[in-house]
Subunit: 198 residues, 2 copies
DNA sequence: CCAGAGGTGGACCGAAGGGTCCAAAAAGGT
DNA sequence: ACCTTTTTGGACCCTTCGGTCCACCTCTGG
């Protein structure tokens, strides 16, 4: 894909993606126009179509891919090693902090809303993000419990859904209470039985 | 608001809302144009603006309000009386069935995405929906546990977030596994200690 | 130094879609 | 029957925005 593209070209392309990602977070995908991107990157229309032949949809897809990566990155290094209850707590806090900071701006929410329909590639980006995320959680759950495969998988999914739900509600209300409560409740069964809460 | 409006007028207005709601569910708010609504309701542009002076935004707001009501209605009669573990299970199944049936079509998702930004009224619709929903869950949790106020509230929020998360992931992947797992895990602490799972 | 590639600028186009307007047709009241 | 109010039809305007086109830079390598 980077064939026939100089360092300068790649830089421009990357600059477009990053700027478009920022705009998308700020105003949502629907309100982000090509002119906005153009203005934000000091580029011209022709460049946008030069680097993204399919136009707008192409850019948005690239942004989605970029953002999907950021989502997982924000959870590191915790997500990579959830082998102890302490690291789970660290992860929980990292997630909480990250989304608290983001606030209303949701990286993927508006993207999927805009691209999701009739765009199989967008769908696959989200799906593989979830898969990767779930896999990491599965490894972590497996490390701190002795449940069988299926139970572990279900637990991981419930944790993942808790994050998603908390984030969605944060988007809609601006309150972090839900994410906090959901996350805490979701991982609490992983807590070693020392001073456990029912 | 219904001042100076005949029965016929109210009927037309209502017809517009219902049709717009359906279109919104099918194609998302962003892709629903006034012409679509016009065609689906056999009305004219002037009527749209007659009944919704603010235009498109006005219609979308009305749809959001309408859909918010539908969300809670779909959970009845269970949501109204969550006083036993059995009714909690019934509710869980009702939610699962409802969203499985809806599948990809999310009533409020695209609405909030489109209206959420800079529309305080849309925000308040979502907020009060969540509040009402949470209140019902709080009553239910309180009925089956002996936890103190704050713990009850947190539990209710975690359950609510679990539903939201499961639904979001259903939207994105088409799979109900997440909602199932999240819902099960979220209410499992409410289960009476007879054959409890850790 | 001179091709020829990649990179850039910006004018231009056409469709889509939200919103306005006016006038005609029903409904309602007296 | 007659006047008023509501309801309806649809032509029209105008902005926005994605997308096209072509001419002009600016590198790089031989």
């Amino acid at each position: 894909m980077n064939k026939g593209m100089t360092a300068k070209g790649r830089a421009t392309r990357h600059r477009i993606i990053v700027a478009a990602a920022m705009l998308t977070r700020e105003k949502g995908a629907a309100e982000t126009t090509l002119d906005d991107v153009r203005a934000a990157t000091a580029t011209s229309k022709s460049q946008l179509f030069h680097y993204f032949p399919e136009g707008r949809a192409d850019i948005l897809a690239a942004v989605a891919e970029y953002e999907a990566g950021q989502v997982l990155e924000a959870q590191q290094p915790y997500l990579g090693d959830l082998s102890t209850w302490e690291s789970w707590q660290g992860w929980r806090q990292a997630v909480l902090d990250h989304y608290t900071e983001l606030g209303q701006k949701c990286p993927l929410g508006s993207l999927t809303a805009e691209l999701g329909k009739s765009s199989p590639q967008a769908r696959s980006i989200v799906t593989s993000l979830y898969d990767e995320w779930e896999a990491a959680l599965v490894r972590g759950v497996k490390a701190v419990t002795s449940d069988e495969e299926e139970a572990v998988r279900r637990r991981a999914r419930s944790i993942l859904a808790a994050v998603q739900g908390g984030v969605v509600m944060l988007q809609g209300t601006g309150r972090t209470d839900y994410l906090d409560a959901a996350l805490t409740a979701a991982i609490s069964p992983l807590q070693p039985v020392t001073a456990g809460t029912a």
